[in-house]
Symmetry: C2
Subunit: 196 residues, 2 copies
């Protein structure tokens, strides 16, 4: 029992509290006062753990970005037919969005007012481009419909996947991540229309 007691904050545990408040009120709408109330410690105590508000944001979006980029290094994202790699990435994106929900939520709402936010936006764009290339390859293989521009289709698919953060909640009696991932894959590739 080294530090098995409880209660005292680390940057990690403080982050999980802060990210919740950021997502509830918006990053700019959250003051250090709000954070201190939510954490149950004083404002100045927060500064003992982190340099300030922006460091909390940087830690949070880093965690989200790391989770997303790791997908692209996985075997099923690198080998095989492009359309199958794409399906794998789509499914894994849903899994990362749900498992790292608060961190990805914050990432997707970043505006670009500070250097940290602009850095996050840039890394996000890199990730989007990597997935867009996958869709482009699948289109070149003839596995994906050619009557919708690849760039446009990528954006719309990302829109559908990323919208998870606006409504998905890991309730006990709610939907599981697997169920959501299945639905996203079915809709993205097959569409709403009843197949005969």
């Amino acid at each position: 029992m080294t530090t098995a007691k409880r209660d005292t904050y680390t940057p990690e545990t403080l982050l999980s509290v802060a990210v919740q408040v950021f997502n509830d009120r918006g990053y700019d709408g959250t003051s250090m006062e709000h954070l201190s109330k939510a954490a149950g410690i004083s404002k100045s105590s927060i500064y003992h753990h982190v340099a300030g508000k922006e460091e909390l944001l940087r830690r949070a979006v880093s965690r989200a970005l790391d989770g997303l980029f790791e997908i692209l290094d996985e075997e099923h994202a690198c080998v095989g037919r492009a359309v199958e790699r794409l399906e794998y990435v789509v499914r894994r994106m849903v899994e990362v969005l749900t498992s790292e929900l608060p961190y990805v939520t914050l990432l997707l709402r970043v505006r670009g007012n500070t250097a940290t936010e602009r850095w996050a936006l840039e890394r996000r764009r890199d990730f989007d481009h990597r997935v867009a290339e996958l869709l482009k390859a699948a289109a070149a293989d003839g596995d994906v419909r050619g009557d919708v521009e690849v760039r446009l289709a990528t954006r719309l698919v990302f829109g559908m996947i990323n919208s998870l953060v606006e409504w998905y909640r890991p309730d006990a009696r709610g939907m599981g991540a697997r169920e959501v991932a299945d639905a996203v894959v079915v809709l993205v590739f097959g569409g709403l229309r009843q197949e005969s």
Copy 2:
């Protein structure tokens, strides 16, 4: 030539400037100082035209909500087979999102920190429910696949459509609203997969 001169602001023209800044920096990240710089007049002059920051937000989201709700009163949204009414509403949503882009963008980013924001969120939920009922009816008709829960499908389709505000820009050489609407309808109903 009553007031054909130019330059002096009305609540309307000031709103169009303010909404741009709100969307660029986020509502909470925008100060009256930012607005005054963008409008080219002093902070106190803004208060001559509107009661404050929150009134600008209210006017903006009202305009967006009015545009969306009007869709539901149109003939093609009320008569005919549910799946066809749904397709019509999806297409018109894209048109309203593109034509009222800055106002809808602001609406979709509202958090809920003030009374105005909570009112906007509530009206948005009403609209979402109306469209969800349409999808439910289409599913009851057997025109929409039954292997994805209606509630989940609604959210994902809304996610795809609403994501427009994150990337659509009405550039002269860019995509037209019609092209985007076509792509959304094709993907929502038919999916990505190449049809044989």
